[in-house]
């Protein structure tokens, strides 16, 4: 026994150096074990995700909203490029028409590169040597001029076609050439004998830059476009109609009517109203589409009555809106129903008894007992659903894609189309971000408004009655 103890002690001493690496880890573990730090460790993943998927996107949206990023500019830096459109901008925006024409012009210069290229292409060495000797460094404004110069050479090619083949190697232009920096572009222009005053330089740099820049143009554009107003009205109509009719209104009807039912049928009806919420959204909307399209249920049922089949959902803006609001409302109502029903359940039975013997009818009970007690749940559902309706567009995208003719295009959907997905494939990240930023600001403003309106502090104060 004594021996084995000694052995353990000895082996412990022997392996001590091996354990040294593990020892500090043990103390770190002990630190984690301290409940004061444990919370932080547990919070860390959540914090990381919040930063990655919430804070960062919102901040970036704020930044992108003030840029002109698009598929054309890319999201990294750009180059300097004189082309048709940048020259048009130079003419229209900066009123340097003459300069634009100048930059547009093609110049023929006898230079090293041209000679080399011509030699590569198989032009005779004698011709090129003489060309080099007689005209090196000279520029010609027109192709005809450079060709005439070649014809003066002793060793000129015999055919006009060969002369044309040589001349093309000396064609020089800044047009459609990408320059990595503004200085390169200016140097190139200078080389062609186009010298610019500082004002012109600034203008040329401005119009030829192909990357994105910071700008407030998005917001100016948003205000000036008539589409913006249509989208805004669509959004307001969509949010408040769905909210009032279904998410709060119908939810209240369901909660209150099931409250006055026996437990079994009440539970059944609540479950039925939950079904749309647990149906996969894509299938759910697909079923609505089946219901509505020209060979669908409605058309089939109405057919025998002599009503021509048509796509009932996309037939008119009114129909489209009816479907959109029904599709959203049928899902949205269930959440309110659950919240309201549980809030009604929390009202002591004795209050119902008391109001009954006080002479209150059902309607008066709802008016004087239930609704006042539902103030906070109604606030909660109103604000929660306003925000969720403002930002959710999946059902509209799936059902009508904003149609017919953009009549059901709400702000969030329009943002999505502008920035991330559209038919033309020209995605305006910057403008989309600006639209999204408006949504963020409106959302925050509305939350604050609701909290003020419903007197949030009193509502969340500790209850004064058991």
């Amino acid at each position: 026994m004594g021996n084995s103890n000694a052995e353990i002690a000895a082996s412990g001493r022997v392996s001590a150096p091996d354990l040294r690496g593990g020892a500090p880890q043990l103390t770190r573990l002990q630190k984690i074990g301290n409940s004061r730090h444990l919370g932080l460790y547990l919070m860390a993943p959540a914090f990381l995700f919040v930063v990655l998927f919430f804070v960062a996107p919102v901040l970036l949206t704020g930044v992108f909203g003030f840029t002109n990023m698009s598929t054309a500019t890319g999201i990294s830096g750009g180059a300097y490029l004189a082309n048709q459109s940048s020259m048009r901008a130079l003419r229209d925006k900066h009123d340097f028409g003459e300069l634009a024409d100048q930059i547009n012009r093609v110049v023929f210069t006898i230079d090293e590169a041209g000679l080399e290229a011509a030699a590569q292409a198989g032009a005779s060495a004698a011709t090129l040597k003489e060309l080099n000797a007689k005209f090196f460094g000279q520029s010609f404004g027109k192709r005809r001029d450079v060709e005439r110069a070649i014809k003066t050479l002793d060793n000129r090619p015999s055919s006009t076609r060969a002369i044309k083949a040589i001349s093309k190697h000396f064609e020089r232009s800044v047009f459609n050439i990408r320059f990595d920096s503004a200085d390169d572009l200016l140097a190139a222009l200078n080389k062609f004998g186009i010298s610019l005053d500082p004002q012109q330089q600034a203008a040329v740099i401005d119009v030829t830059y192909t990357g994105w820049v910071f700008t407030t143009d998005n917001f100016k554009r948003m205000i000036s476009l008539p589409d913006t107003r249509t989208t805004l009205y669509n959004t307001l109509f969509y949010v408040f109609t769905t909210l009032i009719l279904f998410n709060v209104g119908f939810a209240l009807v369901l909660a209150i009517s099931t409250h006055y039912m026996d437990a079994a049928p009440a539970g059944f009806f609540r479950s039925v109203w939950l079904l749309p919420r647990i149906t996969p959204p894509v299938l759910y909307v697909l079923m609505w589409k089946w219901l509505a399209w020209d060979t669908g249920f409605i058309s089939a049922v109405l057919g025998p009555f002599g009503i021509a089949p048509k796509n009932w959902m996309l037939d008119s803006p009114t129909n489209a809106w009816t479907f959109i609001i029904l599709i959203n409302g049928m899902v949205g109502a269930s959440m309110g129903m659950l919240i309201f029903a549980s809030a009604i359940k929390a009202i002591p039975t004795s209050l119902f008894y008391a109001s009954e013997v006080d002479g209150a009818t059902r309607a008066q009970q709802i008016r004087h007992i239930i609704l006042p007690q539902l103030r906070f749940p109604i606030l909660f559902i109103t604000s929660y659903q306003t925000l969720s309706l403002l930002t959710s567009f999946e059902f509209i995208l799936l059902a009508t894609e904003g149609g017919p003719g953009g009549s059901t295009e709400v702000w969030a959907l329009s943002t999505y189309f502008k920035a991330l997905n559209n038919y033309a494939g020209s995605l305006e990240y910057g403008y989309g971000a600006a639209l999204a930023l408006v949504l963020v600001v409106v959302g925050v403003a509305m939350s604050i408004l609701y909290l003020k309106l419903f007197d949030f502090k009193t509502l969340t104060a500790p209850p004064k009655i058991e």
Binding site: Y353, A354, E356, V357, R375
Partner: protein, 352 residues
């Protein structure tokens, strides 16, 4: 107004809670429905006010059959155990609520609310909300709301159960005062025999959905019809001994103590097994048939002291005495039972 329950039956599903009960409550009297939990006293109360629909029999207010009239139209005032005040309304709105529902004019409502508020002493509180009131104040508001429309009957469901001890004493007399001032017919549901005895004109004691006895409190205390009633009334409770009556004498089996019983009972129960009840005030030192036992528990109640005396067979007799008594736990004592005050019950528990 006289209230009559005639052959009243109430079932919950297949469970019969009240079976063919008859009860007459006289106009202007206050009656207690007394019993343990689950005896059907609250069910009876909720049936009178119409919250429960009854399954058989009739309920009459005066001569009017209200059996099929909804609670909204019955004109009853109810005070609930939890007071059931509307938390989002002020005291004034709470009290005025029944009147408002009747579409009485605002000035009329105000006048009546002020009048009743003064009566229950809460004039100063009428702009507060229930959450800002103490339990006793809430109780008064609940009373005021029940009384404000001059109901045919005032129903009180364990009104004192949620109050602390001192408030309970205070509200006991307050409710009685208000009931007597208004002359209203009132039904008090309680499990507390002290409340029932101190507040009510009569007590209807209930067990398993039946009324066992209806009497005035004193009469019920002195002349219980069964050992159940005897055991329910009185604090500290009555003590029971088992034994046999032979030749007009009850013999306590473990000590052999002989306690004479009156001739009438002796004649009826001769040779039979009986149960005798001895109230603590009739088991005292130095009087009646002396019985030996050991003091097993002492509880000082200030003015008086309660002793439990355990007999050799483990039965316990209780004695309540003036606090000058010097007995200690473990002492062997020999105190007397006043056998003329003994309550004798047959094997079925009924009084002989």
């Amino acid at each position: 107004m006289r209230i009559l329950l005639d052959n009243f039956t109430k079932k919950f599903g297949t469970l019969t809670v009240i079976d063919q009960m008859d009860l007459e409550i006289h106009s202007g009297e206050m009656i207690a429905l007394l019993g343990g939990s689950g005896c059907g006293k609250s069910t009876t109360l909720f049936s009178i006010c119409g919250i429960h629909k009854i399954n058989g029999g009739r309920i009459l207010f005066g001569d009017k059959d209200v059996t099929n009239i909804t609670s909204q139209e019955r004109n009853v005032g109810v005070v609930f155990q939890s007071f059931a005040l509307y938390p989002h309304m002020t005291v004034e709105q709470n009290i005025g609520f029944p009147l408002k529902l009747r579409k009485e004019s605002a000035s009329e409502v105000k006048r009546k609310v002020d009048e009743i508020a003064e009566m229950v002493h809460i004039e100063a509180l009428i702009h507060r909300r229930p959450g800002e009131l103490s339990g006793g104040q809430q109780q008064r508001v609940a009373l005021a709301r029940a009384l404000v429309r001059r109901p045919d009957v005032l129903l009180l469901d364990e009104p004192l159960a949620n109050l602390d001890a001192t408030l309970r004493l205070e509200m006991r007399s307050e409710i009685r005062r208000i009931q007597q001032e208004t002359g209203i017919t009132a039904v008090l549901v309680t499990h507390d025999q002290v409340e029932a005895m101190s507040m009510c004109d009569r007590i209807a004691i209930m067990d398993a959905g039946k009324i066992v006895q209806i009497s005035e409190p004193r009469e019920m205390y002195n002349n219980p019809v069964s050992d159940f009633v005897a055991g329910f009334l009185g604090s500290p409770p009555i003590a029971f001994l088992q034994g046999r009556i032979t030749d007009g004498i009850f013999v306590e089996p473990s000590t052999g103590t002989k306690m004479p019983v009156n001739a009438d009972i002796a004649k009826r129960a001769n040779g039979g097994e009986v149960r005798v009840g001895i109230r603590p005030e009739f088991f005292q030192p130095g009087a009646g048939a002396a019985i030996k036992g050991r003091v097993s528990f002492i509880e000082s109640q200030g003015r008086e002291t309660l002793y439990n005396v355990t007999l050799p067979d483990g039965n316990i007799l209780r004695s309540i005495q003036g606090s000058q008594s010097s007995a200690r736990i473990g002492d062997e004592v020999e105190w007397g039972v006043d056998s003329s005050q003994m309550l004798v019950f047959g094997r079925d528990g009924m009084r002989l």
